[in-house]
């Protein structure tokens, strides 16, 4: 084999320093979108190049990396990003949330509570929460600068007018530390409460849009709403058919050709840990079969 042609974690040190400066600024101004000189990465934009660059900039040789995509460690996207860092940084990887020091994620926050030694890196497609109603960048910047956030409520108003309730289910807007309104990336709104007062540092990277933002540990994050239409996290009213969890976010999966469906935890590590700890389906399986596993 030839010697690796990459620097540690692919990016050169100067680029990493530039990204770290952006990250530090983002931490200093919670929720504020810091522009950075996003680099070309050896993968398409839709694959989370913003998150990959943030991860590359913060990763050290001792770190243990977990990569999840919609809660799963096994999708093509998660596997290839994990491989990328194994190859370019040689870091250890894991699927266990509690073992990881850096977790890069797309579309979910792990169910397991994070701790102070962990960093959660989100992949962000569209960082600007005001974009939907105000396409002019100069104007959205001014709105952030002056805390003019009435427009965010216009979006929620439209939701209620159209659907009778706030139908926004993903990328539900939040306000960080009573100041900047922020797009939490397309996580389900079920995950929004986990952003608040979280022990781990949360970093958000948008590659195509060249923005980094952050939620420092133990920062208050509130989901926008109306007094008479308060924010409500949503999950299917069911329990996981594999581990019987009643508090986790569930995916509805098709199990066979006849279109049978079942609910299972979207966070596969969480589900596996529960099963390993002896949790199982409600309808208790026969003793023999259980012992067989």
């Amino acid at each position: 084999m030839t010697a690796p042609v990459y620097n540690f974690a692919y990016l050169d040190e100067q680029t990493k320093r530039m990204i770290r400066r952006a990250i530090l600024k983002a931490i200093a101004i919670p929720g504020y979108q810091v522009p950075f000189a996003s680099r070309e990465m050896p993968m398409p934009y839709g694959w989370g190049t913003g998150g990959v660059q943030v991860t590359a900039a913060i990763l050290g040789p001792q770190d243990v990396l977990k990569v999840i995509d919609q809660g799963s460690d096994d999708t093509t996207n998660a596997v290839s990003i994990r491989k990328f860092f194994t190859r370019t940084a040689g870091v250890r990887t894991t699927t266990a949330t509690l073992e990881a020091t850096v977790i890069q994620t797309r579309h979910r926050v792990p169910e397991t509570a994070l701790n102070e030694n962990q960093v959660l890196v989100y992949q962000v497609p569209i960082p600007e929460p005001l974009r939907f109603l105000e396409p002019r960048e100069t104007e959205t910047r001014r709105m952030h600068a002056l805390s003019e956030y009435g427009l965010m409520h216009v979006k929620l108003y439209e939701d209620i007018a159209r659907h009778g309730h706030i139908a926004t289910a993903y990328a539900y807007p939040v306000q960080v530390d009573s100041r900047y309104v922020m797009d939490p990336s397309p996580i389900p709104k079920f995950d929004n409460p986990k952003l608040s007062n979280c022990a781990a540092l949360q970093l958000f990277g948008a590659g195509r849009e060249k923005r980094i933002y952050a939620i420092p540990p133990y920062t208050r994050v509130t989901s926008l709403d109306f007094d008479d239409h308060p924010f409500e996290p949503y999950r299917h009213d069911a329990s996981c058919e594999l581990c019987n969890a009643t508090e986790s976010y569930l995916d509805e999966v098709i199990t066979d050709d006849e279109g049978h469906r079942m609910f299972v935890c979207s966070d596969t590590d969480f589900c596996e840990q529960r099963r390993a700890a002896g949790h199982g389906p409600v309808a208790a399986r026969p003793q023999a079969e259980a012992a067989h596993d």
Binding site: V154, Y157, E158, I160, A161, F226
Partner: protein
């Protein structure tokens, strides 16, 4: 006209020597006047005479090359608009003022429902009760004669006249004390214009709103305004009570305008 008591009131707005150069091109020179609460002033003149330039300087959309605008806030304090902080100025713009554009697409969010368009200002000043916002929006649609069952439709589905009335409702929902209008009836059919003018006249007098209305149309000026300023080549050449100026114009240019010899 009635309702204006200049003896006891202080002016709401004072323009002093407002001047704007676009490079070497003069936009407006040395415009000065006072506007009182509840007073409607028309600005007339031919195309290129500086009407929009003046309106935009007054409403802080463009910075004057010289001169200043003083405004009496709700608490009575008189402020120089260009020395105010930007947040304070923008707050004023969306609470105490309104701006009705000739082109409703400039003044509306075309992709947002009528209710959302009217409710935006309420939400901008911190109203967080959906039911109240919607009820207020519905009430305002009624006041500008838009059927309330159109509240969830976007202005894309509205006629030109309805859009203009929606723009007015969107501006008036915070009960501003001053409203700027640039050719509010421009581009509308004559019958639609007449209905809009009636509505404007009624609302402005009911709410005692001061207004500055730019128009090409002397009939609009006569119907809506107490006072009139005639502009030509960037300067105010004649000003006074609307009826007096239109019935007995002193400047030859105004005489030509009134006798409809010039296309206003």
């Amino acid at each position: 006209m009635s309702g204006i008591d200049k003896e006891n009131d202080l002016p709401l707005l004072i323009a002093e020597g407002l001047t704007k150069h676009y490079g070497r091109q003069l936009g407006c020179r040395d415009a000065s006047f006072e506007l009182y609460e509840g007073e409607v002033m028309a600005v007339v003149g031919e195309s290129g005479s500086g009407k929009t330039t003046l309106l935009q300087m007054l409403s802080t959309q463009i910075e004057p090359s010289a001169g200043r605008v003083l405004y009496r806030m709700r608490d009575g304090a008189v402020q120089d608009l260009w020395t105010m902080s930007e947040p304070a100025r923008r707050f004023l713009l969306r609470t105490d003022w309104g701006y009705v554009h000739q082109d409703p697409q400039m003044g509306l969010r075309m992709g947002v429902s009528a209710g959302g368009n009217v409710g935006e200002r309420l939400m901008a000043v911190g109203n967080r009760h959906y039911g109240n916002i919607r009820a207020t929006a519905a009430d305002w649609l009624g006041r500008v004669e838009i059927p309330q069952n159109r509240i969830d439709d976007t202005p894309r589905t509205y006629s030109g006249g309805m859009r203009q009335r929606l723009q007015i409702a969107r501006n008036l929902v915070t009960a501003p004390r001053l409203i700027f209008m640039d050719e509010p009836t421009g581009g509308l059919d004559v019958s639609v214009q007449a209905r809009l003018l009636d509505l404007l006249r009624r609302i402005v007098s009911e709410m005692r709103i001061a207004a500055i209305v730019v128009t090409h149309d002397l009939a609009v000026a006569r119907l809506l305004s107490n006072r009139i300023m005639v502009m030509k080549g960037g300067e105010v050449i004649e000003a006074g009570l609307t009826d007096q100026v239109l019935d007995d114009p002193h400047q030859p240019y105004t005489q030509l305008l009134v006798s409809s010899i010039l296309p206003a």
